[in-house]
C-alpha cells in the first residue's frame, strides 16, 4: 500500500436511496450516519490509491477536509469521479460560493483523496463538535 | 351594528332608483328599511354617489394560473409594492398582484364581489386557499369543464342527463360557481400540440365538435338550474376574422334559450371581435357583433377592454397563449392539466403606437357603446389579460365622455385612429348605465340575488364615490369622475366600513360563494366512476374534492336541479 498516494478527483454530492431511508428513520440514527459518511469510488481509483473497500480516506477541497469510508461504486465506470451523499460530511467539502444567485455549488468540485487509515471516522456528534465547537 | 348612509345620490338600477337623494339603512350586514337614527353610525354622503358594491364577473385573481403569473414576473412587482401597516398586510402589484393587495385594491375602488373565471378542477384547492388570503371581497370561481373527458364522452354518447349529474358533482366537489368553457375542444386537442379551427372541427380521438360541446353544456346548465349561464371563451380567440366564430357561438344556442332569458355569456368579447384576414388587415368586428346582440336577448357579454400598459396575459387557452408567445417572443408558461384543461401565460405590453393594439382598444369601447342595452354588456378588462383591474376608472371615463375618448384617440396609432368607429359614436353613458355595467348587470347575469342592489334584504355592500352628479358633467369633467372611482370615499362590506378615502380601515375576510347543486337523487359514486377515476387522474378519488375545511368563510348557495 502506498501511503503517499494522492488522487486528484471531481467530487459530486447527491442523493442515495440509503440516505433517503436513513433520514426518514431519524437524522441521529446509525442508518443515517452510515449512509452519509461514505464515499463511492471507482474500483480502479481505489486500486490506484492502494486502499481496500471500507478503509478510511481523507477527502480535501479548498473549503475543508473530512474523513469518510471508501466504498466501491456499483455505478461504474466513473474514473476520477467520487460521490458522497448529502449530509454533514459532504458539507465540509462543498463550495459555498453562490455566484450571486443563492445556490452554493454542490456538484463538480475539484478534490483530493488520500488514504487515512490512522485517522478516525467521526460520528455525528464528534463531527459537529469539531466543525462548530458546539454539542 | 347599525349604519345610516345619508343624503347620497343613490344609483340602484335593479330597484329602478336613478340618482334619487335618499338614505340607506344597514343593520347586521343587510340593507334594512330603517334604523334608529340616534343610535346608528351615520355617514354623510351628501353630494356623493351611492351605489351597490362593485361586482366583477370575470377577473383572474387566484389559483394556479394566476400564481404562475406572479412567479413569472418579479419585474412586475419591483416597481409596485405596498408596505405593511398596523392594519394591512404587505404585498406587491402590478398586473398580477399578491393576494392581500388584490383584496385591498378592489375594495379601494368600491368593489365587493369578484368572480375568478378559470379554475382547473384538479387544482381547485389552490384557488380556494388563495381566496382565503384575499381579504374583504366576496369571491367565487368557475371550474373549467369544456374539455373534461367525462363531458366529452357523455355528450358524444348523447347521455345528457348523466353528463349533468357529473357536472353537478364536479361543481359541488370543486366548490365552483358556474360552467366555464374555454376554446371548447381546443384544449384537449392541445394535449398533443394542436388546436381546433372552428365550431365544426372534430376533437381528435373523441369524435365530438365544439358546437356539440357548447350546446351540450348549455342544456346541462339548464337541467341543473344554475344561476349563471354557461360562461364561454370562444374558439379562435385572438385570431383575425374570429368575429364570425363569436357570432356563430351565440347562434348555436339560440334555440335553447327560454322566455328571452340569457343562455350564454361570451366573455372578454373584444378578443373575439376581430375582422380581417391577418394582422395587417385587422379591423373591428364590433358592429357585426353589436348588431347580432341588439337583435337577440339570449346572450350577455363582457368587454375585455384593452389598457395601454405592460400586463400579463393568462388564459386556459393553451394554444392561444402559444401563438401569443410566437407572436411576441416573450417568456411563455404552459400548464396542461390531465383529463381536464390547459393553461398558458405570456407577458404582454399593449402600446398606443401599435396598430393592432390600438384597434383592440377601440373595439372594446365600440362594443360597450354600440350594444344599446347596458344589461347585456359589462365592464371588464379580463384582468389581467387586457390590463390590470385598477384601470377600471379609466374605462368609466372613456364610456362617459366623448372628450376622454378623443384625448386618448389622439395619441394612438394614426392608421388605427382613422379606422376607429369611436369618432362616429356620440353616445355617452350616464351614472345609472355605469352602475348597471359595473354592478347591477353583472350581479343579475350571475344570478346573485343579494348583490348588485340596495333593496331591503340585500347584502350591505355599498360604495360611495365623491362626485356630485348635479354639479359635475362627466362628459367634460371626466378627470374628476376618474379620480372619484379610483378611490371610493367609503366602501362598506357586510355593513362594516372597510375603506375611507381610499384607505383600508379593516382587514376582514371575504366569503367564498359556491353552488351546492342538489340532484333529484343524491349522486352515488358508481363503480364506473371509481374505475374512470383510477384511469383518468393520478390522484385518488378520496383526495380529489375540496372539503369545506378549505373555505374559511364558506357561503353555499343551494340549487335544485331537474335531474
Amino acid at each position: 500500500m502506498n501511503e503517499n498516494a494522492k488522487l486528484q478527483v471531481t467530487l459530486l454530492t447527491g442523493r442515495t436511496i440509503e440516505q433517503g431511508v436513513g433520514k426518514e428513520r431519524g437524522k441521529a440514527s446509525m442508518e443515517y450516519m452510515e449512509s452519509v459518511s461514505v464515499c463511492y469510488m471507482d474500483p480502479e481509483d481505489l486500486r490506484r490509491l492502494g486502499v481496500k473497500e471500507k478503509a478510511n480516506i481523507l477527502v480535501s477541497t479548498n473549503y475543508g477536509s473530512v474523513v469518510v469510508k471508501a466504498l466501491k461504486s456499483l455505478r461504474t465506470p466513473h474514473p476520477k469521479i467520487i460521490y458522497i451523499p448529502y449530509g454533514p460530511w459532504a458539507n465540509v467539502l462543498v463550495d459555498p460560493e453562490t455566484h450571486s444567485i443563492g445556490m452554493p455549488s454542490f456538484k463538480g468540485i475539484p478534490a483530493e483523496v488520500e488514504p487515512a487509515l490512522d485517522k478516525p471516522l467521526l460520528n455525528m456528534k464528534e463531527l459537529l463538535k469539531e466543525q462548530f465547537g458546539k454539542e | 351594528m347599525e349604519l345610516l348612509v345619508k343624503n347620497g345620490f343613490v344609483y340602484d338600477p335593479l330597484n329602478g332608483i336613478d340618482g334619487e337623494k335618499m338614505d340607506i339603512a344597514v343593520k347586521d350586514g343587510k340593507i334594512v328599511e330603517k334604523v334608529n337614527e340616534r343610535k346608528a353610525k351615520k355617514i354623510d354622503a351628501s353630494g356623493m354617489l351611492v351605489m351597490p358594491g362593485g361586482v366583477d364577473i370575470h377577473s383572474h385573481i387566484a389559483g394556479s394560473k394566476v400564481n404562475s403569473g406572479r412567479l413569472l414576473r418579479p419585474e412586475d412587482h419591483f416597481k409596485d409594492f405596498e408596505p405593511k401597516t398596523p392594519i394591512t398586510r404587505s404585498g406587491v402589484g402590478y398586473s398580477v398582484p399578491s393576494t392581500f393587495t388584490t383584496g385591498y385594491r378592489y375594495a379601494r375602488m368600491g368593489y365587493t364581489t369578484v368572480m375568478d373565471p378559470a379554475m382547473a378542477p384538479l387544482e381547485a384547492k389552490h384557488t380556494h386557499e388563495e381566496f382565503n388570503d384575499i381579504p374583504i371581497i366576496d369571491k367565487a370561481s368557475y371550474p373549467l369543464l369544456g374539455d373534461w373527458w367525462f363531458v366529452l364522452e357523455y355528450l358524444r354518447e348523447g347521455r345528457i342527463e348523466e353528463c349533468a349529474r357529473y357536472v353537478a358533482w364536479m361543481i359541488t366537489s370543486t366548490k365552483g360557481y358556474a360552467i366555464k368553457l374555454v376554446n371548447p375542444g381546443g384544449l384537449e386537442t392541445w394535449g398533443f400540440g394542436h388546436n381546433v379551427r372552428g365550431l365544426d372541427d372534430q376533437v381528435p380521438y373523441f369524435c365530438i365538435t365544439p358546437r356539440e360541446i357548447i350546446r351540450g353544456l348549455c342544456k346541462v346548465n339548464k337541467l341543473l338550474n344554475l344561476p349563471h349561464t354557461i360562461h364561454v371563451h370562444t374558439n379562435n380567440l385572438g385570431k383575425p376574422g374570429n368575429y364570425v366564430t363569436a357570432v356563430e357561438t351565440m347562434k348555436c344556442v339560440e334555440d335553447l334559450a327560454l322566455e328571452n332569458k340569457p343562455a350564454i355569456h361570451i366573455t372578454h368579447c373584444q378578443f373575439c371581435a376581430f375582422k380581417g384576414d391577418d394582422w395587417r388587415t385587422l379591423e373591428s368586428g364590433s358592429e357585426d357583433i353589436a348588431n347580432y346582440v341588439n337583435g337577440h336577448s339570449h346572450a350577455t357579454m363582457d368587454m375585455g377592454q384593452v389598457i395601454f400598459a405592460d400586463t400579463t396575459t393568462m388564459t386556459a387557452d393553451g394554444p392561444f397563449q402559444f401563438a401569443l408567445y410566437e407572436l411576441s417572443g416573450n417568456k411563455w408558461v404552459n400548464h396542461d392539466v390531465e383529463t381536464e384543461t390547459s393553461g398558458g401565460i405570456v407577458p404582454f405590453h399593449y402600446r398606443r403606437k401599435s396598430y393592432v393594439h390600438a384597434v383592440q382598444w377601440s373595439i372594446g369601447l365600440e362594443l360597450a357603446l354600440l350594444i344599446r342595452d347596458p344589461w347585456k354588456i359589462f365592464m371588464t378588462t379580463d384582468h389581467p389579460n387586457g390590463g390590470p383591474f385598477i384601470a377600471y376608472p379609466k374605462i368609466i371615463a372613456w364610456l362617459m365622455s366623448r372628450k376622454a375618448r378623443g384625448a386618448t384617440l389622439k395619441k394612438v396609432n394614426p392608421r388605427a385612429r382613422s379606422r376607429s368607429l369611436l369618432p362616429s359614436i356620440d353616445r355617452e353613458l350616464g351614472f345609472c348605465e355605469i352602475a348597471i355595467m359595473t354592478r347591477a348587470g353583472q350581479a343579475k347575469a350571475l344570478g346573485l340575488k343579494d348583490k348588485g342592489h340596495l333593496g331591503i334584504g340585500a347584502d350591505a355592500d355599498i360604495a360611495i364615490y365623491n362626485v356630485n352628479p348635479e354639479t359635475t358633467d362627466p362628459s367634460r369633467k371626466y378627470k374628476s369622475v376618474r379620480r372619484a372611482f379610483k378611490q371610493a370615499a367609503n366602501t362598506i362590506k357586510d355593513g362594516k366600513i372597510v375603506v375611507n378615502d381610499g384607505e383600508i380601515l379593516k382587514h376582514v375576510g371575504g366569503a367564498t360563494m359556491w353552488l351546492d347543486v342538489q340532484t333529484l337523487e343524491p349522486i352515488k359514486i358508481t363503480e364506473e366512476m371509481k374505475r374512470k377515476f383510477k384511469e383518468y387522474w393520478t390522484v385518488e378519488y378520496e383526495n380529489y374534492p375540496v372539503t369545506e375545511h378549505y373555505l374559511e368563510v364558506s357561503r353555499p348557495i343551494t340549487v335544485k336541479a331537474d335531474v
Binding site: 471531481t10 459530486l12 442523493r15 436511496i17 433517503g20 431511508v21 426518514e24 428513520r25 431519524g26 437524522k27 441521529a28 473549503y63 455505478r75 469521479i81 460521490y83 448529502y86 449530509g87 454533514p88 458539507n91 459555498p96 453562490t98 455566484h99 444567485i101 443563492g102 445556490m103 454542490f106 456538484k107 463538480g108 455525528m124 456528534k125 462548530f132 454539542e135 | 400564481n67 418579479p74 412587482h77 405596498e82 408596505p83 404587505s90 404585498g91 406587491v92 399578491s98 387544482e123 384547492k125 389552490h126 386557499e129 388570503d133 394535449g191 417568456k331 411563455w332 408558461v333 400548464h335 392539466v337 390531465e338 387522474w537 393520478t538 390522484v539 385518488e540 378520496e542 383526495n543 372539503t547
Partner: protein, 488 residues
C-alpha cells in the same frame, strides 16, 4: 384492524396519495403501496430520535423546558432581532408556511425555503424563460418519450416511473413494464450463458460493452412505444432501466443542452464529441425528440447544482420551448421534499416571490444572491434564526452553517437533527402528514390533502399551531415595547 386508504406520503415531491396504512393500537404496523423511504418514514417516525419535550440551552447544555417557556424564549429572540432568518418550510404544510410568512413580516426578517439550495436556480430560470409544463397525468396518458436529466428517480423519487411515466398505463400510451421485465430476463439469461462459456473455455471474461466509450456502433432508438432516456454524469440505477443512456462529463451539461438546441434546428455540429459524447449519439436522441408525439424532460439537481447552475436550466427550458415548434414537449423539475412546491406556492401568492423574501423594509423584497439565506449567512448579517422542519446544519456548506450556529437559533422539528443539536431553543412538533393534517403541493403543483392518521406524543403540537403561538407572543412583546416607548 383499521386500514386507512388514500394516504398522501409525506416524503418526496412525487406525493403518492395511494398509500394504505394498517393501524393497530394507534400505531402504524403495515404500509402498502409505498416505496422504501415511505415505509421507513411511516414505520419509524416515532422512534428513539423523536423529540418529546421542548428544550432550552442553559449553560451550554440543552435542558427540558415547558412549551410556554420555549415559545416565550423564541418570541423574545425573534422580537429582539434586527434581521432574523426564517428558514425551512418544505417539509411542513402550506398552512404552516402561511403563518410563517405572517411571522416573517411581523419581525421584519428574511424568509427562505429549501428551494434555495435545490431548485432555486430553476425558479430563476423560469422567471427568465418561462416553462412549458403540465400535470403528471398528462405524461402518463400521452408521453411516448421520457427523459431524465441529472436526476435519479430510482433513488430520489422511487415510484415516479411507475406512477407517472414510462411504466404507467395511460389513455394513449401503454406501460412499458413488460418490455422492461423481458429485457431484464434476457440480460440475466445472457449473463448465465456467458458464465457457462467462461467456465467451459476457462477464458478471461468476455468484455461486455457496457458503454459507448468502448467504440461500439451507435445503437438506434427505433423501438415502438414509450422510450426512456437517461442523461447523467454517473450510470445511475435509473440509467440501467433506460433504453438509452448518455454519460455526460461533469460540469458539461450546458454544452450538451446547447448542442441539442442546435441539432433540433437541423444544424450540423462541426465536432466529433460534445461533453464526451459522440455526436452520432446526440443526433439519434435529437431525432427521437423531434419525432415523438409528446416528449417529457425531467431534470434534477444534477443540473441546478453543477457548473452553470441557472444557465443550465435556461438552456433546458429553451430547448423544450424550441421543441414545441416541432412537436409537443414539456419539462418539469424533480422537486425533492414533499412540499417544497407548496412552500414556493404560498410564498408567491402572499408576496409575489417564491423564496428568499426579505421583509426588513416592511414590504416583500426579492433578490436571490442577496436575500437568499446562504448569502445572508456568508455575509454574517443575520442575528437570529428560526428553522422549521429542515436541517441546514446538515445541508448547508460548512461556512454558511458556521454563522447560523453563532446566531440565537430556534428549531421546530419532530426529530433531533444536526441543527437541533446546535440550537438554543428546540420545539418538538407533530409529523405533518402523519400526526397533523394540512395541504401539500406535488412537483406539478397539484394540491393534495395530508392526513392525520396517528396521535402526536402528549403535548406536542403541529408546526402551524406552534407558529401561531410564537406570532401572538411576538405581537404581545412588541405591543409592550410600544407602550413603554410611548410612556417615555
Amino acid at each position: 384492524m383499521p386500514v386507512v386508504k388514500a394516504v398522501t406520503c409525506p416524503v418526496c415531491g412525487s406525493l403518492c396519495d395511494d398509500i394504505e396504512l394498517t393501524i393497530e393500537d394507534k400505531e402504524i404496523v403495515k404500509v402498502k403501496n409505498g416505496c422504501a423511504m415511505c415505509e421507513s418514514k411511516f414505520l419509524n417516525y416515532n422512534g428513539k430520535h423523536r423529540i418529546r419535550k421542548p428544550l432550552i440551552r442553559k449553560d451550554g447544555k440543552l435542558v427540558k423546558a415547558t412549551l410556554k417557556e420555549a415559545v416565550r424564549k423564541t418570541a423574545e429572540i425573534l422580537a429582539e432581532a434586527n434581521y432574523p432568518i426564517l428558514y425551512g418550510w418544505s417539509s411542513t404544510s402550506c398552512e404552516a408556511t402561511r403563518v410563517g410568512l405572517e411571522l416573517a413580516e411581523e419581525v421584519g426578517g428574511v424568509i427562505d425555503n429549501t428551494a434555495v439550495v435545490c431548485h432555486g436556480p430553476s425558479l430563476l430560470s423560469v422567471q427568465e424563460i418561462g416553462i412549458s409544463s403540465c400535470t403528471l397525468g398528462q405524461i402518463r396518458h400521452r408521453a411516448d418519450l421520457v427523459i431524465y436529466w441529472g436526476s435519479d428517480p430510482w433513488s430520489a423519487h422511487p415510484r415516479h416511473i411507475e406512477r407517472y411515466t414510462t411504466f404507467s398505463e395511460g389513455r394513449f400510451e401503454r406501460s412499458e413494464w413488460r418490455g422492461y421485465v423481458a429485457k431484464i430476463k434476457a440480460s440475466i439469461g445472457r449473463k448465465k450463458i456467458e458464465s457457462v462459456l467462461r467456465r467451459l473455455f476457462l477464458k478471461k471474461k468476455p468484455t461486455v460493452p457496457s458503454s459507448y466509450l468502448e467504440g461500439r456502433v451507435c445503437p438506434t432508438i427505433s423501438r415502438e412505444g414509450r422510450k426512456l432516456i437517461v442523461i447523467d454524469v454517473r450510470r445511475t440505477k435509473s440509467a440501467e432501466m433506460a433504453d438509452y443512456f448518455i454519460q455526460v462529463e461533469p460540469n458539461k451539461d450546458y454544452e450538451l443542452l446547447q448542442a441539442f438546441r442546435a441539432l433540433i434546428r437541423d444544424q450540423e455540429l462541426d465536432v466529433d464529441k460534445v461533453a464526451g459524447v459522440p455526436v452520432e449519439y446526440l443526433e439519434e436522441v435529437s431525432d427521437a425528440m423531434v419525432g415523438c408525439n409528446f416528449g417529457a424532460l425531467f431534470f434534477g439537481v444534477g443540473l441546478t447544482m453543477s457548473r452553470g447552475k441557472l444557465r443550465n436550466i435556461d438552456a433546458a427550458l429553451s430547448l423544450v420551448r424550441d421543441l414545441n415548434t416541432r412537436t409537443k414537449f414539456i419539462i418539469m423539475p424533480m422537486r425533492g421534499h414533499f412540499n417544497v412546491a407548496g412552500a414556493n406556492t404560498v410564498s408567491t401568492w402572499q408576496t409575489g416571490y417564491p423564496y428568499a423574501v426579505d421583509f426588513s423594509l416592511g414590504y416583500p423584497r426579492y433578490n436571490p444572491g442577496e436575500t437568499s439565506v446562504v448569502d445572508v449567512l456568508m455575509r454574517k448579517e443575520s442575528d437570529a434564526a428560526l428553522i422549521v422542519a429542515s436541517d441546514p446544519v446538515a445541508n448547508f456548506p460548512r461556512k454558511a452553517a458556521e454563522h447560523l450556529v453563532e446566531n440565537p437559533l430556534v428549531v421546530v422539528d419532530p426529530h433531533m437533527n444536526a441543527t437541533a443539536h446546535m440550537a438554543d431553543v428546540v420545539l418538538p412538533s407533530a409529523f405533518v402528514g402523519i400526526e397533523a393534517s394540512g395541504t401539500a403541493y406535488r412537483m406539478d403543483h397539484v394540491p393534495l390533502p395530508l392526513k392525520r392518521v396517528a396521535e402526536p406524543p402528549r403535548g406536542v403540537l403541529p408546526d402551524e399551531e406552534i407558529l401561531r403561538r410564537i406570532l401572538s407572543e411576538v405581537r404581545k412583546i412588541k405591543r409592550k415595547k410600544q407602550v413603554a416607548a410611548e410612556a417615555q
